[in-house]
Subunit: 210 residues, 2 copies
């Protein structure tokens, strides 16, 4: 995709995807920007701007064609093709993510899980057996993997990410409470759970401030 889409619009794209997917599941054919605005808690004008920015088109008097928009957004997001993930760190969170059904509804699958602890190596999480990280390089030579899910302690995340990058992984879904330093062609999305909870705490103290 060569079209430039502003970052705030990109960040809203997955939410647009969710709403168009829901409408499509309900067999709705068209949706107006004002109906969508109510659902999404945005203004109709914001929605028209966003849709125009990500290259969607509506039909005067009908609104946006639901299925077409859904497919357009899926292509933009790259989720029209299957993607394989490995779990790095098979602790509580890693195992929960490995078993998380939401991903399999989309085209994400878990190809493997790795840990350093003998307590978990050999155990199954979901459909995969936890392997020793010593087998990581060999595994990646044989299995194409798109995304590494880092559910590792803070201090282990950066070295693991560097190693995975060296083995060719370019997608990092990082749950460790650190900011990864990787070359520009690596894509990193952080899920910093502790920070998210702190933000909630802030908003609870300042209910009118957002």
């Amino acid at each position: 995709m060569s079209v430039y889409i502003p970052d705030p619009v990109i960040r809203r794209l997955p939410a647009y995807h969710r709403y168009f997917k829901e409408l499509d599941a309900q067999k709705q054919i068209y949706v107006s920007s004002s109906d969508l605005a109510v659902k999404m808690g945005l203004t109709a004008s914001q929605i028209r701007q966003d849709v125009s920015a990500f290259g969607g088109t509506g039909l005067q008097g009908c609104g946006y064609p639901v299925k077409e928009m859904r497919l357009h957004i899926e292509k933009l997001l790259g989720i029209h093709r299957p993607q394989r993930m490995i779990i790095m760190g098979a602790g509580n969170l890693g195992c929960a993510l490995a078993r998380y059904s939401v991903f399999s509804q989309e085209r994400f699958s878990i190809a493997g899980a790795f840990d350093t602890s003998l307590d978990v190596i050999g155990h199954f999480v979901g459909n995969v057996e936890v392997q020793s990280v010593e087998h990581l390089e060999d595994f990646l030579k044989e299995h194409p993997v798109d995304i590494a899910v880092l559910t590792l302690p803070a201090e282990a995340a950066q070295p693991a990410a560097e190693r995975l990058y060296a083995y060719g992984i370019r997608g990092f879904w990082n749950f460790a409470p650190v900011d990864l330093l990787l070359p520009k062609d690596a894509a990193v999305v952080n899920v910093h759970l502790d920070e998210s909870l702190e933000l909630l705490s802030y908003r609870m103290q300042n209910p009118s401030n957002w």
Copy 2:
């Protein structure tokens, strides 16, 4: 706190907290905006603006006093006081969060866990026994709870949130893939894992676009 802090600065506050906490743990007394900028991947001028917006102060020639800043941010975030959470939905993700050690390092604790499924009621997650949601109201009469963690299926989240709001809960950490509609004095922070993964997929396809 009556000071108005712009939302983008608020969103960065937890990251500032993390860095000042790390520096404090390393017994560093002062940090300059330029050193902090390198660590955080921001510019020094951005950091000076942010710190000024959230009411921090530095010492000319020394930088920011680490411990003082840490405490100031903790107070702003409201994490200087203990906060009690309940887990709504003791599936994989709910259990993983109940056992997640990061929270207990801060002053968040798990007071209870609730589910509708007989398969999990009576089981322990971390230190708490999963109870039937039928006991929720009585539980909340006896135990002060600040935050509900919603690790429920999409369709169950909104009714559960309304019920919890009616029982007096005002903080909602929502992992269900829906946007909750609640009165203005409720604080909601969403962790939409599927959307986060879709954003990663986008960035992998468009490595130069962010």
